[in-house]
């Protein structure tokens, strides 16, 4: 029911729609001389508070530095990119997507190659497929075991998610984006992180069957937050930003980083982008340690450039993906495997749900 965003945080609300309307009005009212930036690129985002954070951390400084303004639009769905490119009327210069699109989009011929003579990829963290000919990573985020603080001692890892005797109560799992549930089940079943992929979906579902009556699936992350906030569920797997949000709002939860799966969001340039050179320049800017540190200050996503941590306070670093609290614990999701197998895995998962 949702268009996919990295943590679903950015559903445009009536307020943001209103605000963008007002902003548009203001732009129109401005004298032409102010309006005319040297150039403008269009960035298709997930919208909401995330787009506001990027405005502050990336778009404004980028315009100050280069004179290139960044205009944001929301509704960055895969279907829209395909429709635009196929109609030969690409209006977007940069789009943020989930990593699977770096393959789906490339295979369908919807993407322009990244110019790595402009974009410096040497600073980007090591990790399979973080950089492809058609994409660069944007920020890191994680799925983390989140638990009710009434449990003392707290759950220690994936196995405890399945231990209903020691940790009674319902489990909040994402029923739409099925990756966490399957990966978590295998890690709980004793699969070594290095041997996680190719994912044994049947084994994962068998493990999940033991937990079936204790799972309460959520469809949007807001729902997942609610489940843990009001205690309907005592354990769950939530995006780290979401879990931190529950805790910040006084929810009785904490995060167990022993059970962490880290992934990232990507930035791509659709084929036929009207301001190709400026778009490449923007990607280069966004991947500087300074810009990465700035976005990590503005939002609870981690930098994809490790050097950015030199510019981030230790206090802030320990809540970010890629921060010290996750070192040696987080499993990096194999997004390439998922892009090739999501459809089949989802079919099996749905059959399991019905069964």
């Amino acid at each position: 029911m949702t268009s996919r965003s990295m943590d679903g945080k950015s559903v445009p609300t009536r307020r943001t729609v209103l605000a963008s309307g007002l902003a548009m009005g203001a732009t129109l009212a401005m004298p032409a001389i102010v309006r005319a930036a040297d150039q403008e690129i269009v960035f298709a985002t997930w919208g909401g508070s995330w787009a506001d954070a990027m405005q502050k951390a990336w778009f404004d400084p980028f315009q100050t530095k280069t004179g290139i303004a960044v205009k944001t639009v929301s509704g960055n769905t895969y279907g829209k990119i395909e429709a635009m490119v196929k109609a030969g009327r690409t209006e977007w210069d940069v789009v943020e997507t989930l990593p699977d699109f770096q393959w789906i989009g490339a295979e369908k011929g919807l993407l322009a190659p990244i110019d790595f003579s402009v974009v410096n990829k040497s600073l980007i963290m090591q990790g399979a497929d973080m950089v492809t000919p058609y994409s660069v990573p944007q920020v890191l985020f994680s799925e983390v075991l989140t638990y009710n603080t009434k449990f003392k001692p707290p759950p220690q890892g994936w196995a405890d998610l399945f231990d209903t005797a020691k940790f009674p109560g319902m489990r909040a799992l994402d029923g739409g984006d099925i990756q966490d549930a399957l990966e978590g089940a295998l890690l709980a079943d004793g699969v070594a992180p290095s041997a996680l992929y190719p994912l044994d979906v049947d084994r994962a579902l068998k493990k999940l069957s033991a937990l079936r009556d204790s799972i309460q699936f959520f469809d949007t992350n807001a729902q997942g937050e609610q489940f843990l906030m009001d205690g309907q569920c005592t354990l769950g797997v939530l995006p780290d930003g979401r879990a931190l949000n529950v805790r910040a709002n006084g929810g009785p939860v904490d995060l167990q980083y022993n059970a962490t799966i880290t992934t990232w969001s990507t930035m791509v340039i659709p084929k036929g982008a009207p301001h190709l050179a400026a778009a490449q320049q923007f990607l280069a800017f966004a991947l500087t340690p300074e810009a990465q540190a700035a976005i990590a200050q503005a939002y609870t996503y981690g930098p994809v450039v490790p050097k950015a941590f030199d510019l981030i306070s230790p206090e802030r670093a320990k809540i970010l993906s890629g921060g010290p609290q996750m070192q040696g614990k987080a499993v990096l999701r194999n997004e390439k495997w998922w892009s090739e197998n999501l459809s089949a895995a989802n079919e099996k998962f749905n059959a399991w749900k019905l069964g």
């Binding site: 799972i215 309907q232 079919e347 059959a351």
Partner: protein
């Protein structure tokens, strides 16, 4: 009647028919351009895969999930329509027979929920029905042990949500038909010695049959395409086909397969409508017979 008079009548008739045709034309053109053409494209898209024309349909038949989910979609929608009928009928009756103030109050209640955003209504039900919510506490206070009845994240939750959201589509066509009905028929039946119950079942019900059918068709077909409520209020087994369509569009960009699923849903809807027309005379809803 002379030949001249008959000729002029015929001419007038054909002229009025031409006027009617011209009046329908803009609407028909809009429908063709914005509705029929996209549907034709959708259906064509479902058959055009480089791996073969029928590859998507073969998958739908081979993997049990899709037909199972289609079946659940149809069954849950039918139950929803039945519940809406039972709940909506008395409301429509009251609406038609109330004074102006009562009418306004009932219409306000119907439309307030109608105008409230779908997501807000679904989230409100989550708050009300969850095991720590007001309704559970109410049940607890009435002596039923808290949490003994699970009201949400299962079929019950879907039915509650679907019924509330679709109820206006039952009440309004029913009330429209009821308001056109002459009370004299029921009075005549009563004066001839029929009990109130018999007057209701033998006279009133058959007379409002078209409204009942129209309400059921509307609620059932609208329910077939739902995905917000089952996704938010349902359990793992309460999947609607629209959710699988959405997955194939937004997550895997497999538009061909999504089109095939949509075509199957459309074909099922038309087939059920045809059966309904054949057996229950659904066509009369539109004044066809």
């Amino acid at each position: 009647m002379t030949d001249v008079a008959a000729g002029s009548l015929r001419r007038r008739r054909s002229r009025s028919r031409r006027t009617a045709f011209l009046l329908v034309l803009p609407g028909a053109a809009v429908l063709a351009a914005l509705f029929l053409l996209p549907i034709a494209q959708l259906i064509a898209g479902s058959f055009s895969d480089h791996a073969g024309a029928l590859v998507h349909y073969r998958r739908i038949l081979a993997v049990p999930v899709y037909l199972l989910v289609l079946g659940r979609t149809v069954v849950i929608s039918a139950i929803t329509a039945a519940i809406c009928l039972v709940l909506g009928f008395p409301v429509a009756y009251r609406l038609v027979h109330a004074g102006p103030r009562g009418k306004a109050a009932i219409l306000l209640c119907v439309f307030l929920s109608f105008w409230t955003n779908l997501l807000i209504r679904a989230f409100s039900w989550m708050v009300l029905l969850n095991p720590n919510g007001i309704v559970s506490h109410l049940f607890g206070a009435m002596g039923m042990p808290g949490g003994s009845v699970k009201l949400v994240y299962n079929l019950t939750g879907v039915l509650i949500g679907q019924t509330q959201i679709l109820l206006p589509y039952m009440i309004l066509p029913l009330a429209a038909v009821m308001s056109r009905l002459d009370d004299a028929y029921v009075k005549a039946a009563r004066s001839l010695g029929a009990s109130p119950f018999r007057a209701f079942t033998a006279v009133y019900l058959p007379l409002v049959r078209t409204g009942t059918l129209a309400g059921c068709v509307l609620v059932f077909t609208l329910s077939l395409g739902s995905f917000v409520v089952p996704a938010l209020l349902g359990g793992p087994r309460d999947m609607f086909l629209a959710q699988l369509i959405e997955f194939n569009i937004n997550q895997t960009l497999n538009l061909g397969f999504a089109s095939a699923l949509s075509t199957v849903l459309l074909a099922t809807t038309l087939l059920l409508y045809w059966i309904g027309d054949h057996w229950f005379g659904l066509g009369q809803v539109w004044g066809g017979r």
